[in-house]
Symmetry: C2
C-alpha cells in the first residue's frame, strides 16, 4: 500500500517536468553533453581569413568607426553595442535618416559560431555579413566606393590595412574591410558558468539552474537550441506547432523563395539572452519568461506555467557570459581630401 502511494507520489513529481533534478549531476551533465558543447577556448578563424594581431586591431577600429556610414553617425557598434549585450535593446534599430530596420538586431557575441548570419541566413559567415549593413540604405547607407574613398584617404588606415593583409596588393579592398571586421568579431566569445559545467565542473551551476537546464532538455528546447552557441545551428519554422499571431515576417522565404522557407528563421543563440531583449524577429516581448512561454506554445505545444518558465529563465541566465575586455580603439584622423558626412 505504501509502495503504491510512493509510486503515485513519484509519478506526480515526475509529471511536473523534472523540477527535482532527479537524475543527479552526472546524469544531467551526460545529457547536456549530448546537445551542447562549450565555447571554443580560442577564437576560430576562417581558412581564407587567417588572423594576426594587426587584422584584429584593424577590425576593431572599423567596427567602431562611424565613417563607414554615409552620415558618420553609425558604426557597427551602434546596433551591435559591445557595452550592452552586443545588440541595441530596441525592437528595430534606427538607421540612416531615422529609418527603422525590419528585424530586431541580433547580438554579435558568439555570432561567428552560427551556421549563417542574419535572421534569414542570407550571409554565410561574419565576414560576409559585416559588409552588408554598411551598404543597406536603411542602415549605414554607404557604398563600396564611398567606404574605399574614405579609408584610402585616411593615412592611418592605409598603413593598418597593409599590416593586416601583408603581401596583398591592394590590401585596402572592400572585401578586406569585411574580413577584418569578421576576424575581430570572431574574438567576441563570452564563456559563462555553463561552459565550466559542460567541462565537468557540475558545481558551476546552482541547483535551480540545473533544474532549469533539465527542464530545458526534457521539454525538447534542445532540439533547436543546441551546440556551442545554444542555438544558431539550424533554421527552423517559427510556429512549428501553432503560428504566432504577431508573425508577419516571411523570414528565409524572402531569400530562397521556397514555400517551405516561409516563416523560417535561423534559430537564435541563447547565450547572453538575458542581455539581448527584446525577443524574436520583431522584438515582440521584453520579458524572457514570456518569450519562453511563447516558444513552448508555438514550437513545442507545451504551455509552460509560471514556475516552469521561471525555471528555464533561471537556467538561461547562467548563459550570460564574460565579455572580452575591449579597449576603445584610437581611430586615425581623416586626411585632407577625406569626404565629409552625407546626412541627406
Amino acid at each position: 500500500m505504501w509502495k503504491l502511494a510512493l509510486s503515485i507520489i513519484s509519478i506526480m513529481f515526475l509529471a511536473q517536468p523534472a523540477m527535482a533534478g532527479t537524475g543527479g549531476d552526472a546524469a544531467l551533465l551526460a545529457s547536456a553533453r549530448e546537445y551542447f558543447q562549450p565555447l571554443p577556448d580560442k577564437p576560430v578563424f576562417k581558412a581564407d581569413n587567417p588572423t594576426n594581431p594587426a587584422k584584429i586591431a584593424l577590425g576593431k577600429a572599423l567596427y567602431f568607426d562611424t565613417r563607414l556610414s554615409s552620415s558618420n553617425v553609425f558604426s557597427c557598434n551602434s546596433c551591435h553595442n559591445l557595452a550592452l549585450g552586443g545588440a541595441d535593446n530596441s525592437e528595430f534599430s534606427i538607421g540612416h535618416k531615422w529609418q527603422k530596420g525590419g528585424r530586431n538586431a541580433p547580438t554579435v557575441f558568439n555570432a561567428a559560431l552560427h551556421i549563417a548570419q542574419f535572421w534569414d541566413g542570407r550571409a554565410e559567415d561574419v565576414e560576409q555579413q559585416a559588409g552588408m549593413p554598411v551598404l543597406n540604405p536603411v542602415e549605414m547607407n554607404s557604398s563600396q566606393d564611398l567606404v574605399l574613398e574614405r579609408l584610402k584617404t585616411i593615412p592611418g588606415y592605409v598603413e593598418m590595412f597593409a599590416k593586416a593583409f601583408p603581401g596583398q596588393n591592394p590590401s585596402l579592398t572592400y572585401e578586406n574591410v569585411a574580413k577584418a571586421i569578421g576576424a575581430f568579431e570572431r574574438t567576441l566569445l563570452t564563456p559563462s558558468r555553463f561552459d565550466a559545467f559542460l567541462k565537468g565542473k557540475t558545481g558551476a551551476l546552482t541547483k535551480e539552474e540545473k533544474d532549469g537546464l533539465e527542464l530545458f532538455i526534457e521539454s525538447n528546447c534542445v532540439i533547436c537550441h543546441n551546440g556551442p552557441a545554444v542555438g544558431g545551428q539550424a533554421f527552423q519554422k517559427f510556429g512549428l506547432v501553432k503560428k504566432p499571431e504577431f508573425l508577419t515576417d516571411n523570414g528565409r522565404f524572402d531569400v530562397t523563395k521556397n514555400e517551405s522557407d516561409r516563416f523560417v528563421f535561423k534559430v537564435p543563440s541563447l547565450r547572453n539572452i538575458e542581455l539581448t531583449y527584446p525577443y524574436f524577429n520583431n522584438g515582440q516581448t521584453w520579458d524572457l519568461a514570456e518569450a519562453v512561454k511563447i516558444m513552448g506554445a508555438h514550437q513545442l505545444g507545451i504551455d509552460f506555467n509560471d514556475k516552469e518558465a521561471t525555471s528555464i529563465v533561471t537556467f538561461l541566465k547562467a548563459l550570460t557570459g564574460e565579455k572580452p575586455k575591449i579597449d576603445l580603439p584610437n581611430l586615425p584622423p581623416a586626411g585632407n581630401t577625406t569626404s565629409h558626412p552625407l546626412t541627406e
Copy 2:
C-alpha cells in the same frame, strides 16, 4: 661692406616672422611659459564633487549609455566620441529624429579645464554641462523623469550610484547623473609633447614645431589661446578685426542678451585640434591651415601666407595628445519595468 650685407640679410630673415627660431630654445621656452601651462599631472576634481573610483566608473558607464536618450540611440559618446578626437567630426551633430544641432560639437578632451562649457559658456563646468544635452529636444530628447525612471529600474545602476555617492540618500538623482559624468570627463586629459616641452624638455618639439610655436606667440595668437588647454580660458568676439562673412550665430549674446556679447564665443582649446575638424562654431572649414588664416585675418589683422599657416599648423599638431586608455564599460541590463526606447 660685408658687415652691411650680412646685416641686410639678417634683417631679411627677421622680417620673415621668426621662422628661424632666432631666440634659441631657452628664450622660446621662457616665452611659452608666460602664456601656457602643462596639463595637470592628475585630474582636478571639484570641491563639491569629490571623486572615488566608483564614481569614475559610473560616470564612464553613463557616458556610454544610450539609454540616457529617449530613443536609446545616442549617448554622450555619440557626439563626443572618445575613439575619435572627443567630438564627431561633423559640422553639426545629428540628434533625435535626425535633427541637426546649431553648433559644432566641441571636444570633451581637456574640456574640464575651460572656464565654462559650450561655445556660449552657458554651463559653468562639465558637471553642469553633462546634464544638458540629455534634455535637449534636438539632441538626446530625454527628461529628468525619464532618465531617473530608467536608471532606478536598472538594478546595476542603483548599486553603482550607492557606491559612487556613499552616505547620500537618495544617491540616484539627476544632479548625481551629471556629477558622475562630469567626474569621468575630468579624467579625459591628453598630455602631449608640448607638455614635455613646457616642463623643460626643449627637445620634445622638433625645430619646425618650435618655429611654429614662436610664430604663434609673436603673431599674438596667444592673447586668446593660452593656459593649460591652449584656449578655453576666455570669451572673445569672433571677428575682432573683421567679421567673418559666414558668421550668423550670435554666440554668447543668446545667453546674456548683452549687446557686447554678440558674436562672442568661448575661445576653443587648441589641444588635439588636428583631430577635431571641422573648425569654428559652424564647422566652416575642415582645413586647419585655412582655419589659421581665417583667424589671422579676422582676429589679428594678419594675412598669414601659406608658409606661415603651415608653420603654425606644424606647431598645433604637436598639441595632439595621448588619449587615456578607455575600457568599454559593461553596462548593466534593464530591469523588467525599465521603459522602452521612444523613437517618435
